[in-house]
Assembly symmetry: C2
Homo-oligomer: 200 residues x 2
């Protein structure tokens, strides 16, 4: 017995398809599924198909939704003058959890990375420009990730939105709340210093 039985091997490979799941985790998870009851396994299998079938991007902002337009875009109480631009739909949920943000979102679907073939055309950038051009928007908060690609995307958005009368902001860099100065990297610490706020 060199290898796992074929159906098990295939299930392991499917789990490995999930980004961030390595070989050992995939094996562990596949074995867990084998110990599910038949009902659980069927429910799991159906949940995958169901989620894929029923969930699609919002026509306006790209956020995941079961309808045409996502609950945020459909909510009449949200401030339509502010758009928070994020890379992924899951980032929307991070902001929603904060409960302070009352504006809308725009999900790019990634960040610019020409090396990996991700150009402005592969992202939901044209849609953002249209929304801004429509005129109601006062401010665009670019909340792409604080890495090279996210930074490049922010610069790019800033440039293409320059012709419109809209303020473009970027999230603040700094030390995380509850973090530890000793373990904060120099780049972050430098940014925190640059962005210091006077208390008096």
């Amino acid at each position: 017995m060199q290898e796992y039985a074929e159906p098990l091997q295939r299930l392991i490979e499917m789990f490995r398809h999930i980004p961030g799941i390595g070989g050992k985790s995939a094996v562990r998870m596949a074995f867990s599924v084998l110990s599910f009851s038949d009902e659980e396994a069927t429910a799991f299998s159906e949940a995958i198909l169901d989620a894929k079938r029923k969930i699609r991007p919002c026509r306006v902002c790209g956020n995941y939704t079961t309808g045409e337009i996502c609950p945020v875009c459909a909510d009449p109480d949200r401030d339509r003058g502010v758009i928070c631009v994020v890379e992924q739909a899951r980032d929307v949920l991070a902001f929603e959890r904060v409960r302070e943000y009352r504006g809308l979102y725009h999900v790019l679907g990634g960040a610019l990375s020409p090396m990996n073939g991700i150009t402005p055309d592969s992202l939901r950038i044209a849609g953002l420009r249209e929304r801004v051009a429509a005129g109601d928007v006062r401010e665009v908060i670019v909340a792409t990730d604080p890495d090279v690609e996210g930074e490049a995307t922010a610069m790019y958005l800033c440039r293409i939105l320059a012709p419109y009368s809209v303020k473009v902001a970027r999230l603040a860099y700094g030390i995380p709340v509850g973090g530890n100065l000793e373990y904060t990297d120099e780049v972050t610490l430098n940014r925190a210093l640059e962005g210091r706020r006077y208390l008096s």
Copy 2:
């Protein structure tokens, strides 16, 4: 938008069903599945059903197999005089990877834990006794986990196999190869000392 869309929420819950997968991982994995292609999602869904349907425990040893009898039990070159007793089918693969062990296996399906309702009757213990009683077995190596339940199970097996002319062994305890003495806990170190082997 307080919560995830319902089909997504259900998929997240299915991932949380997998032991060792917490809330955040489940969310991350469910979102990954949403970004699968339709073909990939269908393949994933089918792989789950397929694995559940086609894989069953070997009639002799309880190891996972697609047939009646697992490849190890069916292999005429294996030493039928030695049985290695493990808790889970995945433990068989750990031993197979070593490539030194040429005996057979017996998968208990867990370890004794009366507090959690796992009694000898809920494990594949009667089958082990039958195999030993059949007479060909010289040695039983109890390779249950080195924890309280695994230890208790080993003691129990030792007792019920006492009437038969079979040697019962337990895996050696000690420091792991490549491990670090400084970070080895006292109990393990004590066992390593007890089990010391003389080089001269």
